[in-house]
Amino acid sequence: MRMIFAVMYREYRIRTTSLTWLFYDLFMPLTYLLLFGIGLDRAFASGIAAGGGHVSYNSFFLAGVLSMASFGIAINTSYGFFVDRDNGIFYEFLTYPMTRAEFLIGKILFNCGLSVIQAILTIGLGAALLGIPVRWGMSGVVFAGVVIGTAGWFFFLTSFALRIRRNDMFNTFLNIAYFLLMFASSLFYPLDGLPAWLRNASYANPLTWHTDVLRYTTIGVGAPETVLLEAAAFLAFLAVSFAVAVRTLQHGILK
């Protein structure tokens, strides 16, 4: 545990050297919800049908924003490998007395804390300013979902960040991955009305699983059985991504 705290402390020190960065991370999702969400809310003034119910677009989009924010923090954290590599400190870290798993867990735990604060701000101000009917009783599950989502995406992206040596290549990879994952998912719109090929692709997307779990726990939209299945699938995705990331750190850095 001591090593995990040491890595977390280091992440905290690095993050707090730039308050702009921190501010952006904390308020970006809320800003997204307030600007993009409100725009689409007006466009779909009568609300949208989702999961057998009818909700405002703002309410529907809340889970999408939370999910996107988790993904964003995971991207920033995985991008940190390039910064550390450029500063030479990355390889030195790997000679420190800790396991590769401790290194990865410590690195994401501090950032998971950030994503929880981000979620509190987004949900709280979203409910206060936009009247989103949040299920406050499920808050604990929502925050757990945010943490698991951030960690899952970070571990997934870590393997790529470690194997792709060039940060411009990693940027391109991220742009393509983000684009595909975001639009082939339930982040912006319900899947029911999509063409079969896109709907099927979206159901196979971990971003859909994560978003659906957050949507169910925040506003109660979705079938509980499906959501449970999606939660289990995302946990499996996290476990596999973690194992692959640890293995990459152990064997795939300097081949």
Binding site: Y9, T95, P97
Partner: protein
Amino acid sequence: MTLAEPAIQVEHLVKVYGERSSNPVRALEGISLTVRRGEIYGLLGQNGAGKTTLLRILTTLTQPTSGTARLLGLDVARQGYEVRKQICAVLQENAVEIFLSVEDNLDTYGRFHSLPRAEIGRRANRVIAQFGLEDHRRQKVIDLSGGLKRRVQVAKVFMVDKPVVFLDEATTGMDPINKRATLDAIREQARQGRTIFLTTHMLDEAEELCDTIAIIDHGRCVAIGDPEKIKSLGSRVVEIRITYASLAPDPLGPLQRFALHRLELKNATIELAVDANEVSPFEVLNVLGTLGPVINLEVTGGSLEDAFIELLGKGSGPGPAPWRDRS
């Protein structure tokens, strides 16, 4: 792990990068060496000789393709975590937290090595003074010069007490005063019983510091031994520099009968180099003594640099390594 075990034992270590690619690179070709506990061991070699690869394997950054490497009895390929508890390393790349201040760099390093907080402060103050960083302690590292960044990086390893210290070109970019402070600190670490494994291009530094030196070339050891032994492996060149109060006409004439490597006359000073295997330096000195009244005489043996250049010149490429001290 027992006290009888060497600090580092490397046997037939091979490392091939890109093994499955069409263009694999063989960085280590079956290297073997033993580092005793408490010694300063220097690894010398040209760029690309395999020094950094060996260091990466020993610090658990990469896995060997075949062969074994043990550190304090621990297998570096299989017991990486246990090995990392026994080491600290200054790698070739500048490794500092550029967005943090000097003292925050030392603080985070101390935490990573499980030092108590009060101890971190005490040791940070000590190394800040030792490496002349007092005026920069609150400055962010990004704002420091390259040499100062290197100083911060090297200062970090002197915060902790690990049995084995790896230093890869640790003094590169340092000014002479800080280089001296670093060398003193390294010696002090060795006196306290720590094993120091260093790679360097500075042959004078290696000669001054190391108990044992290994010269590697193309991933193989071409020579191992103490600095004197290594120097003796080169051709036995003796340099003579003699200054006279006055010289007879044509003073170099009597010296023409010797097969000298170099012969120069500068004002009243004669400089020459002689291979002791071919010509007796004493015979040359006898003749030099007849050329005029002597006011200064310097006789020096071959340097480590001479041996290094000669060994690598002869030892390049595959094949047996004739100079290797196998004792």
